[in-house]
């Protein structure tokens, strides 16, 4: 079983649209939406939810006004400025428990926090694990880890050969949780100065975790020179360029119709995505290929 994570450095580069197309092209993979902050894959794949569970992680401090003597130690101890006027601002509380531990009156409760809800679902292209964080909730990295673990179990049960993960943007906590231990990542980027900058940072991160990387350039024709520059950068950082997708209105049209691009179009972008999928399969299953050949 292989696990491929699609990431992007920055958001909005077309990660989810490309993941949805791969879902349609692959043979019943298990799908995971790890962009828990802005989970959009379900908008295309329209999952039918089978089971739902709450995601409980961490704690939040709550001062019991009746028992509080207003000594102020909690405020002195809190490094996150989460306590003012002997009230905890739940949005600012990191759940470190320092105030709870040091309150001389034991007047601070520390209930577990419900951070979101996650689902096991069926889609027309395979099973899917996805979640919704509560607004402003913490621990998105932990939720991402949980989703990947659950996807692994599901893939084993279903004997699926591939787990496709729609990763998180950025280079911080959630994306680190998205890629650790994966077999390969595909970085979707755009031919812009920002895209080049973000690609460099995310490839540094990926090589830090020693994960093989591939790169594809979306909307490559808005700046052809930059596309070549980006592919050269990718190669210099040991990432394999696997293709270019042209700017194509069919991509947004597919989104609006809740279809994957390759399901709804035979245009230039759709053909490019099919080509990229072929190239990725060669990379991802390279070892098995050699095996069969020998």
């Amino acid at each position: 079983m292989k696990e491929l994570v699609i990431i992007s450095g920055k958001g909005g580069t077309g990660k989810t649209s490309i993941t949805a197309s791969f879902a349609a092209l692959a043979d019943h993979p298990v799908l995971v939406d790890c962009d828990v902050d802005a989970a959009d894959l379900h908008l295309v794949l329209q999952p039918e939810i089978q089971t739902s569970e709450t995601f409980v992680s961490g704690h939040v401090a709550e001062i019991r006004t009746g028992d509080c003597t207003q000594c102020g130690l909690c405020m002195a101890v809190c490094r996150f400025d989460a306590i003012t006027d002997f009230r905890v601002d739940a949005m600012a509380c990191e759940g470190c428990g320092a105030c709870v531990e040091f309150c001389p009156e034991k007047a601070i409760d520390f209930p577990e926090q419900e951070c979101g809800i996650w689902h096991r679902s069926k889609t027309r292209h395979g099973s899917m694990v996805h979640a919704r964080m509560h607004p402003g909730a913490e621990n998105s990295g932990k939720l991402v880890s949980l989703l990947r673990t659950e996807a692994g179990k599901l893939a084993e049960r279903e004997n699926a050969g591939l787990i496709l993960v729609d990763g998180s943007p950025g280079i911080g906590c959630p994306v680190i949780a998205s890629i650790t231990g994966a077999d390969a990542v595909l970085v979707v980027t755009e031919p812009t100065l920002s895209g080049e900058h973000d690609l460099k940072r995310v490839l540094q991160l990926v090589s830090h975790f020693r994960i093989p990387a591939m790169v594809c350039v979306n909307k490559w024709d808005i700046n052809k020179e930059m596309t070549s520059q980006i592919e050269a950068l990718a190669e210099s950082m040991n990432a394999v360029p696997v293709g270019r997708v042209p700017y194509d209105a069919a991509v947004t049209a597919a989104q609006v119709n809740a279809r994957a691009l390759v399901e709804s179009s035979d245009g230039a972008a759709a053909r490019a995505v099919r080509g990229i999928w072929g190239a990725i399969q060669k990379q991802l299953f390279a070892e098995e290929c050699c095996h069969v050949a020998s």
Partner: protein, 277 residues
């Protein structure tokens, strides 16, 4: 006044809007790039960098001569950043939230805090724009401490525009709740609408007044407009889809240069948000 330029999802045009508003402003303005995982506004502002400083956060270190391996630090740590095995105390910096509880609880004074570098803050200038940008070191997971330090560079006297991190979790909340008002940037697509709804839900919890900007508008009547009307959210600007804008962006040029007709509108946004506070 501090204005957060934010969005539920990435790539909707936060940086484009932040920089365009900074250039269009008729007064002195400070631009804070708080998207510290992927700071991009310097490509468009092209400031002359005057100052660069390293940012640190405290993490615990163990003095083995004093540590008795009692395990109190590991017990108090909510983030599993400390473990005690066979009387030895080990710290995992990447899991540490720098809350200081372990140092405070240690009965023998065996723990003290050391500074761990997490990123840099750059400051510079271009014309009437003062520029400040935070940049997280690759491999660091915790962006909020660096975001908070970048936000401290706001100018209390004049207008401050904050280019926020995407999403709706800790980094977004850290940046937005420090601001007086927010502009939520979105696109007229199903993804854009879905993520805007999440951003709105979060910002309403935070109690920060806000308006919406639509980027890459193709038709005047779009799902974002209908949603804003139904929710009573002011739609402050719509920027038309234009290949010139995408090409300018790819070269690191602000949209002001290819769509100068937007300047007047952009300059009004801070005033409109001010009226909502």
């Amino acid at each position: 006044m501090k204005i957060a330029v934010a969005s539920g999802k990435g790539g909707t045009g936060k940086t484009t809007l932040s920089c365009a508003m900074a250039f269009a402003a008729q007064e002195k303005v400070t631009l804070l790039d708080c998207d510290v995982e992927e700071p991009n506004s310097h490509f468009f502002i092209r400031p002359e960098i005057e100052h660069q400083e390293q940012v640190f956060r405290p993490v615990p270190a163990v003095d083995e001569t004093k540590c008795t391996g009692c395990g109190e630090c590991a017990r108090v740590c909510q983030f599993n950043a400390i473990v005690t095995v066979n009387g030895k105390t080990l710290v995992f910096n990447e899991l540490c939230h720098s809350c200081g509880a372990c140092v405070r609880i240690c009965p023998t004074g065996a723990l003290h805090e050391v500074d761990q570098p997490i990123g840099q803050i750059e400051t510079g200038r271009r014309d009437h724009v003062r520029f400040v940008s935070g940049r997280l070191d690759v491999g660091q997971a915790m962006s909020p401490p660096l975001i908070r330090r970048t936000l401290e560079q706001a100018d209390a006297e004049s207008l401050t525009i904050v280019d926020c991190p995407p999403g709706t979790s800790c980094p977004y909340v850290t940046a937005v709740k420090a601001c007086d008002a927010a502009l939520l940037v979105t696109e007229p697509t199903p993804f854009g609408l879905h993520d805007l709804k999440l951003a709105v839900e979060t910002i309403r919890d935070l109690g920060v007044p806000f308006g919406v900007a639509v980027n890459r508008m193709t038709e005047e009547k779009n799902p974002i407009q209908a949603y804003c009307e139904a929710e009573g959210i002011p739609l402050l600007i719509q920027i038309p889809e234009d290949r010139r804008a995408a090409e300018a962006y790819s070269r690191g040029e602000p949209i002001n240069t290819v769509m100068p007709e937007l300047n007047e509108r952009l300059a009004q946004i801070p005033e409109q948000l001010k009226a909502m506070i």
